[in-house]
Each structure stands twice: as structure tokens, then as C-alpha cells.
Symmetry: C2
């Protein structure tokens, strides 16, 4: 059983990106620059943004973290984004979600210039993804395709099952896997809360991607012998024995599924790291388009 | 076996739309106005555009057909679209595809204002469709969902199989059927040229949507007992005995599949009429947004 190790893969990608940054510097050019906006002080959001900022530093990107209190008005936030859109020294913009209830996430996302939308959440970029045009794919599914490419997972003609139809994971993942790319051309089944025969459908999958947020839900009886299992479920489960009081758990019961699957991406050590790799790759793409 | 009759359904929709138009007139308002651009004189395109113009007249819409020779430059065409975008008396714009090779279809589609994109081909509208926001759905899959609604086809929790991943039919149809709508919530499998076990997959479908362009390809052995079969394949097949020298054939071998299916949308008399109904509904939506 192969472990699809997100640490090895993301380090490889970071190494490639940092070499590119070095070559920019050697040629007297500025480096890629990501602006991250954080509203309020939600604990998980703080951690995610801190990791993104740290990862930018690791590959030599500049990053700017802009913080607002959670009573910032929608208009003020939209104006702040407009300013970043116009700033030619900023290549990528991300606004950490979720936002306070009085701010429309859709308005915020649609205000970010599609050229700087390194999270790949703008509907224009979603539409380009669907239509197979160059775009920014959302960081998590993009990272997953990089992981599969890195470990030479064959996708063409395979039966893939994606559990979850969210805009940021399940839906774009189903589009990427079924599209006409090197990491696509799968026959894809997309499942969700209304799916009736989930166990039967999963057990026919050559590639199973799970983004449910139900810790340990996927057992070996739901997995085909030799299947590739990509675990995109990330849930904080309370655990008093852990230093932080919680552990990160995936949708897959790893030890059980490992007896049957051909490969599994672990949680932690899989999707989280690859999401950041996807964000860094998108930021590089935005920089190259911008220069 | 129920015939999902596109004629009955589209007449019902046209009747509803024409009543709305009458109410606009009674209130002294202008009527919805569609502008259609036709480049060159491809035979099939001439027929399609003529049908669209005629259907506008039937429901009381105004329409303007703008013709260009096939040597129009890309820039001239884009400028003509920009003018229509700015014209507040025009609600919907469609450019009949295909275009001559020297003109980028993507550039043309992205130049049409998303607010007037009644074909639903603009990536911004595709992205809104994917993300579940209000948008213009492409006319053919939109028409198919109206047909299914009209005939009270239950979709929630059903296994749907869509054959074809084109931007104008298969892909948006798979998104609509798997989305969280009254005509959605299916578990959807999207198949294409790389799918290996097509017969087996089709024979498990409660709802089978076929958009292959392979006349008569779908036989009863590929269809589950009682399945709903939506035939979106439209191919001109040479036939000397026909008045025009050809007949329109669907992907489904109707007589054979009729022995097993619960319902079939016929070709002709199904998708073609519903595509026009979809276009007319989108034009009404554009008008209402614009007024």
C-alpha cells in the first residue's frame, strides 16, 4: 500500500517554486507577492492564514497579511479589495473564509480581480475550469491533482467517485477528474447527501475522493481492492490527550482501508499540505501572467 | 411508455411567455428583444437562427437578425457585440456558432455581456451555474430540465448517467442534475470517449441523458427497465426519401428502447424544441433583470 505523502510532494513543488524565485532575483526582478485578508480572529482561520504566510516565506514570495476587525463593513472590505486589484505589485489576493454574516462572501469573491484570484473561487474562473480554459483551479482539488501526478496515478478511463459537491472541493474535483487533461479523463460519479447507494457506488471506484467531513466514515467494505483513495476530509476532533486539545481526522479509517486500498493520501500529511502547494502554484501563475 | 413530448411542453412554455408579453404591452411597456448574429451562410446555422427568430415572433418578442459575411474581421464582430451590449433596448444577444476559423469563439463569447448572454455560454455564467447562483443555463440542458419538470420526473436521489462532456450540453446537464434544485439532487455519472464500461454504466441509470451524436447507438440492452431516457443527440442522416435529403436522428434507437424504458424524449420533437424554449425563457429572464 502506497502512502500518497503530501509532505514529500509539497516539498518537491516548493523546491521548484523557490528555484524560480531565485532566478527572478538573479535577473533583478521582483518576487511574487500574495496579499491575504483576515477578518476577525476565528481560531482555525488564524492557523490557515499563518500557514499560508509562512509557506510564502519558505519559497521566497513576499506576502502581506491585512487584518480587519469583524465589524468592518462590507463596503469597506470591497474597497480594500479594489485597491489591491489596482496595486500592480500584488499578484494574488485571498480573503480567508468564512466571513462574518453581515458580509456577502459571493460579493467579496466576485470583487477580487479574476487575474488575482489565487483561491480560484471567482465564478469566472470556475466557468473557465468547467469549459477547460486556462484558469486558477481551487487550491485543494488542484493540489490533489498534483499529488496524483507526482505519484504517477493513472487516471484515463478509470472510474472515479467523488463524495461531496461543494464549490471548493467536490465539484471542481469532479470537473478536473472528468476533463480532458493528463490528470483527467476519468468516468466520474459525483455523490452527495441525497445519494442512496453510497457503499455500492464507492466499492466500484478505481479512484475514490472523499470530502464529507465525517471522520473515519470510509471503511474497507466501501473500497475496491487496489483502489486509490484521496482523503479530502479534514475535521478537528476533540482529544484531551493531544497538545492542542484536538486532532485532525480524515474521512477515511486509515488502518482499516489500508488493508485493501492500493494507495491512500493520509490526514494529516496529505490534503492540507497540497492545498498550500496549490495556492503557491496559483500565485506563481498570477505573477507570470502579471509580468 | 411515456413520450416526453417536447412539442406539448414547449407550447405550454410559449403560452406562458406570450401571456407575460401581453401584460407588458397592456402596461405600456416594451417587449423583450433578442439580437441574433449570423456570420456566413452555413445551412444548419441558417435553419437554427430562422427557427429562433420565428419563435420570438410567436411569443411576441421583438428580434433583430444581424448578418455578416464570413470575411468579417474578429475585431469588427467584437465591436458589433459591444454596441449591442450598450444598447438598452436589447435584452439578449446570441451569436450563432460555429464561427469562421479566423474568429475566436471564446473571445466572442466572453465579449457578450454576461447580463445578455441568453445562450449561457459565457464562463462567468457557467461558473455561477457550477456554484449554484442565479445565472443563464445553456438553453439545451435548461430546456431538458423544463421537460422533466413538466412531466413530473422525480430526480432526487436517482442515479443519472450523462453521456458527453461538452460545454453546451453534457457538462452543464451533469451539473444541473447533481445540483441542489427541484430538478436535481441526482447522483450523476459523467461518461465520455474514454469511458470503458459504458454499457454497464448506462444499464444502471434511472435517468439516462445521451449527447453523443451517434444515431441509434443506445439500444435496449443499455437501458434499465423503466428508466427515463433523454435523447440530446441530434444528427443529420442522409436519406434520399426525405424531402430535404436528410432526416434528424437521435442517439436512441427509439423503437427498441421503447420496449424497456419508462419514458423517452423523441428526436425530432424533443430536445430541439426545448432548446428554443430554453432560449426564450432566458431572454425573458434577461428582460426582467434589465427592467
Amino acid at each position: 500500500m502506497l502512502v500518497l505523502d503530501g509532505k514529500i510532494c509539497s516539498q518537491h513543488i516548493k523546491h521548484e517554486l523557490s528555484q524560480k524565485v531565485e532566478s527572478f532575483k538573479a535577473n533583478g526582478k521582483r518576487v511574487p507577492h500574495l496579499a491575504a485578508i483576515l477578518v476577525g480572529n476565528n481560531g482555525a482561520s488564524e492557523t490557515y492564514v499563518a500557514n499560508k504566510v509562512k509557506s510564502c516565506a519558505e519559497v521566497g514570495y513576499q506576502s502581506t497579511l491585512i487584518r480587519y476587525k469583524d465589524d468592518i463593513s462590507e463596503l469597506e472590505l470591497l474597497q480594500a479589495i479594489e485597491e489591491l486589484n489596482l496595486n500592480t505589485e500584488i499578484d494574488g489576493i485571498l480573503v480567508q473564509l468564512p466571513l462574518p454574516n453581515h458580509i456577502s462572501e459571493l460579493k467579496v469573491i466576485e470583487t477580487i480581480s479574476p487575474k488575482k484570484d489565487v483561491d480560484g473561487f471567482h465564478p469566472l474562473n470556475s466557468g473557465r475550469l468547467v469549459q477547460g480554459h486556462p484558469t486558477f483551479a481551487p487550491a485543494t482539488p488542484y493540489g490533489m491533482t498534483m499529488l496524483m501526478e507526482y505519484f504517477n496515478i493513472e487516471t484515463k478511463g478509470k472510474n472515479a467517485v467523488v463524495i461531496g459537491r461543494s464549490n471548493i472541493v467536490g465539484r471542481p474535483m469532479s470537473i478536473l477528474l472528468s476533463g480532458n487533461h493528463t490528470y483527467g479523463n476519468c468516468t466520474v460519479t459525483i455523490c452527495h447527501s441525497h445519494t442512496k447507494n453510497l457503499e455500492e457506488i464507492c466499492s466500484q471506484a478505481d479512484i475514490l475522493v472523499t470530502a464529507m467531513g465525517k471522520p473515519g466514515f470510509i471503511k474497507s467494505n466501501m473500497v475496491k481492492e487496489g483502489a486509490i483513495v484521496i482523503d479530502v476530509g479534514i475535521t478537528r476532533v476533540d482529544d484531551e490527550t493531544a497538545a492542542r486539545g484536538y486532532r485532525i481526522k480524515g474521512d477515511v479509517d486509515f488502518d482499516d482501508v489500508a488493508t485493501k486500498a492500493g494507495a491512500i493520501s493520509p490526514v494529516p500529511g496529505g490534503v492540507g499540505l497540497m492545498t498550500i502547494a496549490g495556492l503557491l502554484k496559483n500565485t506563481m501563475k498570477a505573477y507570470l501572467n502579471n509580468n
